[in-house]
């Protein structure tokens, strides 16, 4: 990672080109592919938001889906139960998720590693149980369907563009955060919390802020889900989904910024298309995961970057 402005420019140009491609892409894609891409954008944003906490903060965020589902439900409830303009819902969802992550974070951050993760799972399961049970408000396990999304973004193509724009904006903000002093120090906390404390960092507070950032963007992803699918249901907060997002981060490479997005794309595509040929999609996922942990622990993108670097500069080669 060189600090020279030249690479910054290069990166920017690449990013712009990428975005441009995605902007014209719908003209060449089938309706289903457009939907699938929008779903990938949503899931990718979710995975990236988890990686803010997991990859950059080194925290065992085992129940990230709670913040996603909470955001989705907030959006859905605002759209169905209030007469407020639709856009209010999209602002409130991330705020609600941020608030929930603050609450859960306040209780959790004092615990370390595995305790943190497991405690989060039990708190998250409690939130899930409430949403699953509260029929009069959340419609319980039936979920809420046919949510009236604002007309402007209701169709498949416009949902695609909405998801794309939101994704790009969120990625820019998240990249900015990663590259900010906070992000730098947060990575320090990940590598070595004890040492961070010894250079004057309030580790707990950093982890809390990190959790809130991750939770907020998960909330954004949750409202994107409502736009793309038009439904919410308690599965969105179930712990198995959380593990799936973890796998996405791992698969793409959790020490890279775009890795999780990449991982999300691979998982969504594999799930959709392997599912066409076999009922045994889970076993495929299991085996892919095992191979990955054995041979590519840095993830797909992480592997590519490491190799690219080591080719340019043999010094970077890691054991």
């Amino acid at each position: 990672m060189s600090a020279s402005p030249k690479t910054d420019w290069k990166k920017l140009i690449w990013a712009l080109m990428g975005v441009a491609v995605f902007f014209v892409l719908p003209n060449f894609l089938s309706r289903f592919s457009i939907y699938l891409m929008a779903l990938i954008f949503t899931t990718g944003l979710l995975a990236t938001s988890l990686n803010m906490v997991l990859g950059y903060g080194g925290m065992y965020q085992f129940h990230h889906a709670v913040f996603y589902g909470f955001g989705a439900y907030t959006t859905a409830l605002f759209l169905t139960k209030t007469g407020l303009p639709g856009w209010v819902a999209f602002v409130c969802a991330p705020l609600a998720s941020a608030l929930l992550s603050l609450l859960i974070g306040l209780i959790c951050v004092r615990l370390s590693k595995l305790y943190f993760g497991m405690f989060q799972i039990s708190l998250g399961s409690l939130v899930w149980a409430i949403i699953y049970r509260w029929y009069s408000f959340t419609h319980g396990d039936d979920g809420i369907h046919g949510i009236p999304v604002p007309d402007l973004i209701a169709s498949g193509k416009s949902a695609y563009y909405f998801a794309l724009i939101v994704l790009v904006v969120c990625l820019m903000i998240m990249y900015r955060i990663v590259e900010s002093p906070f992000g730098r120090i947060f990575q320090g906390v990940r590598d070595n919390p004890e040492r961070s404390e010894a250079v004057g960092v309030n580790v707990r507070k950093h982890q809390l802020v990190g959790m809130i950032i991750g939770g907020t963007f998960a909330g954004v992803a949750g409202s994107l889900f409502v736009v793309v699918e038009g439904s919410v249901f308690p599965d969105l907060l179930f712990w198995t989904l959380s593990l799936e997002i973890l796998i996405m981060c791992l698969l793409g490479g959790w020490f890279t910024f775009l890795g999780p997005l990449f991982g999300a794309a691979i998982i969504v595509l594999l799930r959709t298309f392997v599912g066409i040929y076999t009922e045994y999609w889970t076993i495929v996922l299991g085996i892919v995961l095992m191979l990955l942990i054995f041979f590519l622990p840095e993830g797909v993108l992480g592997y590519i970057i490491t190799r690219y670097r080591s080719r340019r500069n043999p010094k970077f080669q890691e054991g």
Partner: protein, 298 residues
């Protein structure tokens, strides 16, 4: 509606006994998980799958042996051994190469096993519900203070202490137990004394998984043996291990007691909200003692 129906002492005692027998199963499964966590530092999510496989194996063995009393006892002995065998293969083949990895990687690796085992069970046993019988002598119930208490639950109440005693003997009186305890605290030290840590780990892993299989075989006569049995138990046992203190077998016992009893008493007192009781108990414990009730080896 009255939230607090008049609870007789008899009903309360009855519920306590029932809760204790549930505790037995939770303890057996959780202690295996805790053992593996403590010594190998592997958060084994596949523990629940092994429990499920234990139940399915018990069903198959019992049916093959004619489904009667003999079948049950044969299954109770062979099914956990079968699970132990599977886990031995898995440990020697894969896990032993991964011990130095991060906990997160290990956790995801065992999760991969959950996925694979889940589909394998579907491939091998299909989608029908399965069920096996308790031996004739353990069917039906006793009358305890005017309430029926299933004989099989009594059997579980006897098995529980036996397993606990066995574990105590294993960890305190046998050589492998002592080595494992030492290895849990300081792995390098044990290796430095010239003990083959790798095999100690394998044995502990197999014993842990054996307990999962035993739990599965023990519940088989009372439950519907189906896919998805693994999901519920794994979260419950993880919570138990966490509140007890990671890697502490007696913590697992304490955690199972808290979990099983709050569940049973909650059902009696607030039947409508019974579902959240154990979770509230867990959260309360962790708020007060963030590192679990007993000393954690982590």
């Amino acid at each position: 509606m009255d939230l607090l129906p008049n609870i007789s002492l008899a009903a309360f005692c009855q519920q306590l006994l029932v809760g204790l027998s549930r505790t037995t199963i939770l303890f057996i499964v959780a202690s295996g998980l805790s053992l593996v966590l403590g010594v190998l530092r592997i958060p084994n999510v596949a523990h629940g799958s092994l429990y499920m496989i234990g139940a399915f194996l018990a069903y198959t063995i019992a049916s093959a042996a004619g489904g009667g009393t003999f079948g049950f006892w044969l299954a109770l002995v062979l099914a956990p051994l079968g699970v132990a065998l599977i886990s031995l293969a898995v440990e020697r083949g894969l896990f032993c190469r991964l011990y130095e990895r991060e906990h997160l990687m290990l956790l995801l690796f065992t999760f991969a096993f959950t996925l694979v085992f889940g589909d394998l069970v579907k491939l091998v046993w299909g989608s029908d519900f399965r069920s096996m019988n308790a031996p004739t002598s353990l069917q039906g119930s006793f009358d305890v203070l005017g309430f029926p208490f299933p004989k099989y639950n009594l059997f579980l109440l006897i098995i529980g202490p036996i397993v606990a005693l066995g574990l105590w003997w294993l960890t305190n009186k046998t050589k492998i137990g002592k080595i494992a305890k030492a290895a849990a605290v300081d792995r390098e030290m044990v290796a430095a004394v010239g003990i083959n840590v790798s095999w100690v780990f394998a044995s502990v892993f197999v014993i842990g998984c054996f307990l999962a299989g035993l739990g599965g075989a023990l519940v088989a006569p009372t439950q519907n043996i189906t896919q998805g049995m693994d999901h519920g138990i794994i979260i419950e046992t993880f919570l138990i291990v966490i509140i007890g203190g990671l890697g502490n077998i007696w913590g697992a016992l304490l955690g199972a007691l808290i979990f099983g009893l709050t569940d049973a008493i909650g059902i009696l007192i607030f039947p409508q909200f019974a579902i959240v009781f154990p979770y509230v108990a867990v959260i309360t414990v962790l708020m007060l003692r963030p590192k679990g009730l007993l000393k954690s080896v982590w």
